[in-house]
Symmetry: C2
Subunit: 418 residues, 2 copies
């Protein structure tokens, strides 16, 4: 183990999750306690915070307030969707980053995000190596999409999955209340991977979930779909459908784009009404079946519903952040912290594992084909067995006035202290 003394910086990037701050807090808390880390900085809005010298002093935050990060959704440090170009192409950003690293003697770089963030992390790691600047770089994953490869699952997925399954169970109760017929279409996030939509199968597993589930892993045929809905509706006068926003037909066209015909009708302000996939399918099925239909889009709610987070997810996310610091201070660099699953006497165990940044960056993991049913409109026990352990446990949330208490950082800028 080689000792490296210096400051650490952590940044968050990509779309929010309910638990990304739990990871960041695991990282920040552990770094603040580590004797080789001289100072802990937070980069405001991800890598942009480094490039623009917008680093805040995490040590200046009140520890009790900082601890609220563990239950605060979204990125407390702010996020970005900034993609670094290859340093061979344009070195500007990298030079800026190196300048800031040197300015604050940053020897530890932790980046908390999804696929694109691991790409950023990987590029910075390789650049620093090339320049001979010793800096240990670790990726801490997060993504509700659950689409990072090598890791068993991603921090953030389980809490979104728990919210989706819970909400589906509740919508099921609501949608079955009248004796009149009703068709309900629920749109779930997921452009290319169906993990989130698949989570609605957990509600079906509990006896009150969607009848049909469509993920982007499989071609969507609107005629087959309509026939299925009609068949179920004819039997029970109810039908609940869960669809990924990213479902496509066999020619690769997004089903959501089918709605543009409907959207041609201009409103009185002269612009077309853009509805989402759920409202398109609800309108389509209303026309096809004559039934009362309703489209529901879970929208942002599914990625920030910390009040319904999985305690397992929160603890695992925290431990991923902690492990990143522990490994880095022990000499590890250029890795992403991931999860490996095992079973001990039949009980789910999650261990931290290390993955090569270059292998993870920009690759994508889909729901395995064998976890779909034969007709590709539902999930089988393989998926249930995978997902169920992840959503266990509820968070004992600190509240005030009956509402969650979220972190509010002071954000003392490091450059002002120089």
């Amino acid at each position: 183990m080689s000792i490296l003394k210096g400051a650490a910086v952590i940044g968050q990037s990509g779309g929010p999750t309910s638990v990304i701050n739990a990871s960041a807090y695991g990282c920040i808390k552990t770094a603040l306690e580590n004797e080789n880390i001289t100072k802990v900085y937070g980069a405001l809005n991800g890598i942009l915070g480094v490039i623009h010298d917008n680093l805040i002093d995490m040590g200046a935050e009140d520890p009790a307030n900082l601890a609220l990060m563990k239950q605060t959704p979204s990125s407390a440090l702010g996020s970005c969707r900034y993609k670094l170009v290859d340093s061979d192409e344009d070195e500007t950003d990298y030079q800026e980053i190196l300048k800031i690293f040197k300015k604050y003697n940053i020897r530890y770089f932790f980046y908390n995000g999804g696929n694109d963030s691991m790409d950023t992390c990987n590029k910075i790691s390789k650049y620093m190596m090339k320049k001979g600047y010793e800096c240990r770089v670790m990726g801490i994953p997060k993504t509700i999409d659950n689409d990072l490869i090598l890791t068993d699952h991603c921090p953030g997925y389980a809490s979104a999955a728990k919210y989706i399954a819970t909400s589906m169970m509740e919508v099921y109760q609501d949608a079955h209340v009248y004796d009149a017929g009703q068709i309900t279409v629920v749109e779930v996030m997921g452009r290319d991977a169906g993990w989130l939509t698949a989570a609605s199968a957990l509600a079906s597993y509990k006896g009150c979930g969607p009848d049909l589930i469509y993920c982007p892993e499989n071609d969507f045929d609107i005629n087959v779909f309509t026939a299925k809905v009609k068949e179920i509706y004819a039997k029970t006068k109810k039908c609940i459908v869960a669809v990924s926003e990213g479902i496509k037909d066999k020619d690769g066209n997004y089903i959501s784009s089918y709605g543009s015909d409907l959207a041609q009708s201009k409103d009185k302000f002269g612009h077309s009404q853009l509805g989402g996939l759920a409202s398109f399918l609800a309108a389509y099925l209303k026309k096809e079946t004559g039934a009362k239909t309703r489209g529901i889009e879970l929208s942002l709610l599914q990625r920030c519903a910390a009040h319904c987070a999985s305690a397992t997810d929160v603890e695992e996310s925290f431990s991923a952040g902690r492990a990143a610091v522990e490994y880095a201070t022990q000499g590890i660099t250029d890795k992403m912290v991931g999860f490996k699953r095992s079973y001990l006497d039949g009980r789910y165990v999650c261990n931290v594992d290390l993955m090569d940044l270059s292998a993870v960056a920009n690759a994508e993991k889909k729901v395995p084909a064998e976890w779909f049913n034969e007709t590709k409109d539902g999930l089988n026990q393989g998926f249930i067995d995978y997902a169920l352990p992840l959503i266990q446990g509820d968070v004992d949330m600190k509240k005030e006035d009956g509402l969650p208490k979220f972190v509010q950082l002071k954000k003392v800028l490091a450059k002002d202290a120089q």
Copy 2:
């Protein structure tokens, strides 16, 4: 106190809430334990269950399973939106109801619902009196809309309010994560009364809620609105707006109708079917400001999110159901059970109170004008003081596999046992 022995029936009607079953369970449990009530029936799908002789034997249900009603959203007995015509106009339904009451010796009728349900309750009560059939009739209120008069608040409102405030706080975190600008419009239920939308002010009170809140109590001017949004956006690059689905302009046109030329279909009670306001306003603001905008509709989620229920609401709802039985068996009839608020040493106390059914039926309570701010785009402390006590406490939900456990009734039909 006059003793009346006989069977009791309870029905549920109108739109679901998170706690309507808590009221029904309070009623059923108390009735099952009362020595003067010989049998307890549940009417499937409200008054239609009586008319069609679809009564189930609540005593045949497993008590532990039945207790899950207290945490199950929506109406476990099924609901209806059936409006009884005046008996002077057409007596058919009433004759059928009386026939069933006589068939099962029903001497207690409990009806659990909103304004329209209190109207049904009132009509049945008056008809039975006219016919000299002794039957004690009690209304047990529920409505997320909180628009019943005389009662301080309605069971169901607080849980929806808590969900809305919590979700708003979470959406706030999400919407503030990027350094890029963003305008977010959240559409909340409420055709004529803004109680639900007003609840989003609780999030603002906690420092992370909407900047602007629009309720149907006030005329909505899209130009004033747009100017306000632009002003806030110019300062902070963010703007969050909460709107009631039912906001109208000064000429009484629904703002949601601005976005669509579709003829508004009326439901049986003469209400217009609304929807799509959030996406319209998001599209409109995008055009007006050039900013990235997003429309979110809380849809059914806000009325069935039992996982985020207010423990105060659940307990009060239960006690309303229990009180209905207690009063009725003590000789009271033709009343709705409501709530009266008082403060003991500054602490909120909620007492059960009795209201005349005929006074409650078909009247509507709006958010008092003095609780809005001067510019009618926000709520003041008067509303916060009113709403805050109602949302206190979390439900310790029974779960299985990390997901809520909902009641599944056996539904043994009484007519099959005859």
